[in-house]
């Protein structure tokens, strides 16, 4: 169950366990941005993956790497800061001058891209198409758009395909990838395989031949049921479904092998030694259990794992070990106050501090659970901030925690 030994020589000291790393720094991310070429950020939706991917990419750029951050669905203000308001697969250079004003002149450059899954697939079709005519035939098929957007794992696959393509181009020193929010880790990890499987499935072959080949019984049943079923499909999609799908697959036939080959190649990105997965979670125990499952899947597939960022962690205001004594002493002092009004207010202040410390205790339990679920994993803690982070300087302030020595 132990993660691949990568980085262990450097991070062993400060990451023996999540518990040991608690409140201490963990520089595993510093090692990752120096040693790797692709960092993939995984985790459930809503834990802050996008923001943290941007943070890490920014730090790499500051340290001198030519870095690309690939986002999926950033909050609008973060997209503004990165200069990517629209989809489009285009790489924009991020204006880092706001940082120079703070005296932090970046040594490298930062680029950002917002993934457009549809366009990614289009580009792939185009690159494998033997002729412009075939390309046109595929693109003009009325079902093409529907199929590419509804195919299982299409979105996830596009992300992997894009990473592969950009990595091959060797334009960047480091690519930081934010993944689509999925309920199950497997949806992302399995996407390329699913696509290959689909291309090779009987369904596709069926459409490549005239549909007589389903067999006699199948055909009779098809005829009996197809009226209703295809009427429903046609009602929803507006297409004469069987013919359109047949046309689609026949059109795609010429670039079949290329697509399958490509999907297999792209999936190798996940396993490459230049790659590392960074998992992001909240301290909530529910999320910790999910991330432990994700981690187990990475290990099972021998996918390189870099470490875990626990985001929105509530640090204690007073260390647990002496908290009670200090608060009791303070309470006694307040009870000795003469002014009743002030005293009442001070007692309420104290109650509030106690309540807010309950949150820090709760979060600590989550990180301790993480330490038990994934022993020896490098862990970085990012404090819960009362407002969302979106500006470059905001990202930079998060990096003080991510890259704390």
């Amino acid at each position: 169950m132990s993660p691949p030994p990568e980085n262990s020589h450097k991070t062993a000291n400060n990451s023996r366990s999540a518990g040991a790393a608690l409140y201490g720094g963990s520089s595993f991310l510093r090692d990752l941005i120096r040693e790797r070429e692709i960092l993939i950020f995984g985790g459930a939706g809503g834990v802050g993956k996008t923001t943290l991917a941007a943070c890490v990419a920014l730090q790499a750029a500051i340290e001198g790497k030519k870095t690309l951050v690939m986002t999926i669905d950033p909050a609008r203000r973060l997209a503004d800061s990165l200069g990517v308001r629209e989809l489009g697969n285009e790489e924009h250079e991020v204006d880092l001058t706001p940082l120079a004003r703070n005296g932090e002149a970046p040594k490298g450059k930062l680029f950002a891209l917002m993934l457009d899954p549809k366009k990614t697939f289009d580009d792939m079709v185009r690159s494998f198409s033997p002729s412009a005519e075939v390309t046109d035939r595929v693109f003009n098929n009325r079902l093409y758009q529907q199929i590419t957007s509804s195919l299982a794992g299409m979105y996830e696959y596009s992300a992997i395909e894009k990473v592969y393509e950009i990595h091959q181009s060797r334009v960047y020193d480091l690519i930081v990838v934010d993944t689509p929010p999925t309920k199950h880790a497997l949806e992302f990890l399995d996407a390329p395989n699913k696509l290959v499987e689909f291309f090779r499935s009987g369904v596709v072959r069926w459409f490549l031949k005239p549909y007589l080949s389903v067999g006699k019984i199948g055909l009779r049943v098809m005829q009996a049921g197809s009226d209703v079923l295809f009427k429903i499909f046609e009602a929803i999609t507006g297409f004469s479904i069987v013919r359109d799908v047949s046309d689609f697959f026949i059109a795609l036939q010429d670039l079949w092998d290329g697509l399958v080959f490509r999907a297999e190649k792209a999936s190798e990105v996940l396993l490459a030694k230049e790659t590392s997965f960074v998992l992001v979670t909240s301290p909530h125990q529910q999320n910790i259990r999910e991330i432990a499952f994700y981690h187990a899947k990475l290990v099972e597939r021998k996918i390189p794992f870099g470490g875990i960022i626990v985001n929105r962690f509530h640090f204690p205001y007073l260390p647990k070990s002496k908290r009670k004594a200090l608060l009791d002493q303070t309470e006694a002092a307040i009870r000795g106050e003469m002014n009743r009004g002030t005293q009442a207010k001070h007692l309420r202040l104290l109650d509030n501090l106690r309540a807010i410390e309950d949150i820090s205790d709760f979060d600590r339990l989550g990180v301790e659970l993480l330490g038990r679920k994934i022993p020896r994993a490098p862990v970085a803690l990012v404090p819960a901030l009362p407002t969302d982070v979106y500006s470059l300087t905001g990202l930079q302030s998060v990096n003080q925690h991510l890259f704390a020595e």
Partner: protein, 311 residues
């Protein structure tokens, strides 16, 4: 009071991870108190409701997960066979048909079909429940719906289909479905969110799409995991002077905590106001409970909070 428990169906949706399943569980507990027999429905084979009620075990579909509360997942393939049977009249034929890999492929990937089966099945369950009256094991359905985007897409489908098919049984059926989901006496929607940017944005978008574009009723916005802030402590004066004999370290911590609480309070207020300004439906607030998993007692507590708002 927000009228909810006279309906046949309540749909709960919001961004992933904001507490949809927890809200469904608390609603079911409250439904029991109102003498309804609730069924929580999840549109997935990987059920999470039994876990919310503290059962880790594989549990048979439609069984009790707590006193008088049933929950069930959704077997899509089975539902498709049922759907086809309903239209083809002969189950054996629909089974053979559905085993056909091509048909299977279509039912899984044809845009809108999955949604049509979901909305159709839920609607059918609600009709069946009404027809069978007291003999039915449940009489109030709570749908632990997919997150905002998918849920919108799903609720849009009956209308789209009934517009496209102009005649025949499918038209009649989808019309009836559309009418059912639009009727506030039969079906309702609760949106749930946290006071954070992304969940709030999604709920705002969903609410305007539901009410303005689709004419579907949103009954309330549930705001989950509110951190209670005692506003009286936020003024500067109260914390300025450290009482004599108090720990200075503790007092510094206390001052920092109040500063942070003030920022949190302001952020919560901003989002609360934005929600109130842009969504007409009333707001209902649930407190942050620091436990994982929540115990039945915690769920009971949430149900009690809901009871102050829903009838």
């Amino acid at each position: 009071m927000i009228r909810l428990f006279h309906k046949k169906l309540v749909i709960v949706s919001g961004k992933g991870g904001v507490g949809k399943s927890t809200l469904c569980a608390a609603l079911a507990i409250l439904a029991r108190r109102k003498d309804r027999r609730p069924l929580i429905l999840e549109l997935t084979e990987f059920e999470s409701i039994p876990t919310v009620f503290g059962s880790d075990l594989e549990q048979a579909k439609g069984e009790f997960v707590a006193d008088g509360i049933r929950s069930t997942g959704f077997d899509f393939e089975e539902a498709v066979t049922e759907y086809l049977t309903l239209h083809l009249k002969v189950r054996a034929v629909s089974q053979i048909l559905h085993k056909n890999p091509v048909v299977k492929y279509f039912t899984r990937t044809a845009p809108g079909f999955k949604e049509l089966v979901y909305t159709g099945k839920i609607w059918y369950m609600a009709q069946d429940m009404a027809r069978r009256g007291d003999r039915h094991p449940f009489d109030f359905m709570i749908l632990d719906a997919p997150s905002t985007g998918q849920c919108l897409e799903m609720l849009r489908v009956p209308g789209v289909v009934s517009d496209m098919v102009r005649v025949g049984p499918i038209m009649r059926e989808t019309r009836a479905m559309e009418a059912f989901y639009k009727n506030p006496d039969e079906s309702g929607i609760l949106l749930i969110t946290l006071l954070q940017e992304m969940p709030v944005n999604e709920v705002l978008q969903m609410s305007s799409d539901l009410t303005e574009k689709q004419g579907l009723p949103v009954d309330a916005v549930v705001i989950n995991q509110i951190v209670p802030v005692d506003e009286d402590i936020l003024d500067e004066k109260a914390r300025a002077t450290c009482p004599e004999g108090a720990s200075e370290e503790a007092w510094a911590a206390l001052q920092q905590a109040v500063t942070d609480l003030k920022i949190l309070h302001d952020a919560q207020e901003t989002f609360r106001k934005r929600l109130a300004k842009e969504i007409k439906a009333p707001q209902v607030e649930l407190p942050l409970i620091l436990k994982s998993p929540l115990s039945l007692k915690d769920l009971d507590r949430l149900a009690t909070t809901l009871e102050e708002n829903f009838e």
